[in-house]
Subunit: 330 residues, 2 copies
């Protein structure tokens, strides 16, 4: 039996965010869908960058944000994702390693640059994201180290991995290895547009490969093309060991076989920026599972983490989540 060295290993897109302020009028002029994540090619990414104001750069990425949350909770983590051997690749590598996450994926030595996500922050703090996948398209099965997956209790994936074509092969390999070693596979659906792009594959995955599913209301309804949350809920029951379904201020619903929990959202004085809420929720929930907590407690823990992230600008916690949870739950 391989020893567990990582409680959670994440596989996802390795992205540096380029954050700028943008007026609603700019989004309209450029025909951008406010609040959504859209994929752009290098040319469109450059075109938009030329049109926006001064930016701030910081590491981003959906699964990465969850792994960062787990690291902040004191969980042993690793990450698999592809950067180029360029300056932004160096920035990404520094940032993730500096928070204690093991990151060993070889950087690409040619091909597209490190991925960037142009994040347009509107005056009301809504974020519109334009992702240039760059080097992420180079992630493939060869980047999956079987020993690392075997040594991880949970392999966590983001739905956005289905956008770069070779990455899904990497996922299928990782999932097969994880299950061969009786580990668990978790998936976050990422966003409803992403679900739209890959619905059939996600449906097959949820039935056969995913043990722990994270989805918000829009995503789970999109997956099953259901007209209500409750109808989607009936579909997902039994399709994976645990589904954690988030509903913003209405809290979350956890289903696992016959077990169902409806957990209230953690109160927040003032919601500043909802970006990162889902990622933080997943971090808290996985922390609960890693610690052997029951599902209700894991959901509570998840809600505390999500509440922290939405109470300020930015998708990652500003305080030690481990300390925060200890203060709240003892």
């Amino acid at each position: 039996m391989t020893e567990i060295r990582h409680d959670v290993i994440g596989i996802g897109n390795a992205i540096v965010d380029v954050v700028v302020h943008a007026e609603d009028a700019f989004l309209e002029t450029e025909g951008l869908v406010k609040g959504a994540m859209s994929l752009v090619d290098a040319e469109r990414a450059d075109d938009l960058y030329d049109k926006v104001g001064p930016a701030v750069e910081c590491s981003g990425g959906s699964a990465v944000n969850t792994i960062a949350g787990l690291a902040s909770l004191g969980v042993r983590t690793a990450f698999v994702g592809k950067v180029r051997d360029d300056m932004l690749g160096k920035v990404f590598t520094h940032d993730i390693r500096s928070i204690g996450v093991e990151f060993k994926t070889a950087a690409a030595t040619d091909g597209p640059a490190t991925a960037t996500c142009l994040v347009l922050v509107a005056p009301d703090a809504h974020r519109t994201m334009l992702t240039y996948l760059g080097a992420c398209v180079e992630l493939g099965p060869e980047d999956i180290d079987e020993d690392e997956i075997a040594a991880s209790a949970i392999t966590y994936l983001e739905g956005y991995l289905w956008d770069p074509p070779a990455a899904k092969e990497a996922f299928v390999k990782a999932a097969a290895v994880a299950h061969a070693y009786e580990r668990e596979v978790a998936l976050s659906l990422s966003d409803p547009f992403c679900v739209d792009r890959h619905r059939d594959e996600f449906l097959a995955l949820v039935e056969s490969h995913v043990d722990i599913l994270f989805a918000n209301e829009d995503e789970i309804m999109s997956l099953y093309q259901a007209e209500s949350f409750d109808k989607a809920l009936q579909h997902v029951r039994g399709h994976c060991r645990v589904a954690a379904l988030t509903r913003s201020e209405r809290g979350s619903v956890i289903v696992s076989g016959d077990e169902v929990h409806v957990v209230d959202a953690e109160p927040v004085d003032h919601v500043v920026d909802t970006a990162g809420a889902g990622g933080a929720y997943a971090a808290g929930f996985l922390k609960g599972l890693v610690d052997g907590a029951d599902l209700a407690r894991a959901a509570r823990l998840a809600g505390i983490c999500a509440a922290e992230v939405i109470s300020h600008l930015g998708a990652r916690s500003e305080v030690s989540l481990g300390q925060l949870v200890a203060n709240k739950l003892g």
Copy 2:
């Protein structure tokens, strides 16, 4: 007579800031002088970067911050500074151009990387800066376009330009051109340690090349090795056309020949981060001069800009300074 196209052209170090949180204990362990700017070589810069947490990158630089303030005030500006043709050079170039500053200096195609400043933000918001000059050392007289200087009412320089050796030659050339066309030369002393490094040269400059001098209390006392602010004040009178001396919460003193103004600081509800105060003050003051305001009004305008910058984290304004000043002064 050459037409004025730029009200102010800045010459300075083109730097990308790498901003991280750091505890006081880390500063002590590494032997760093809290609150100061120190120069580091590439090896030490890498060593420190490896030891700090996740960072946020944004454009920085002392003269650049003043030019950005002027652009926010609606002043026609240009900037001369050296980046490398690398990713951070692209970031710097994008950011400065995106705020309407003309920036045409050719990027270096070999040699050191674009300059970075590792900014360590302590829990009390004090900033300790470690600057790796990188490509800035490549700035030389060949980068000074005589037509651009001739077309600028004021040429503004930062004291930090004396650190990269060839840059001071660029400055001497720019000052000579400016004076040949009866333009004015402004200098900010940057910081008291910088004054210590280059005292004799700064003394000669202030006597013969500088029309408008910006210095804070520590800097002007360091320049004249004076034991009190008042003694330094007596020294500087008559050495340049205008000296604007800032004293934090005690406001500023403007001397110009026989004219002296003692102007109170603009009230601030809560001082969050004093970084950028001097640069914003210089921007407001130069805006006043460009508009033909009297010295007292220029100082008031300067104080308003400084107050805005110290009321939040970061060295640049978060609102349109032009709008702010219009609201306050009509």
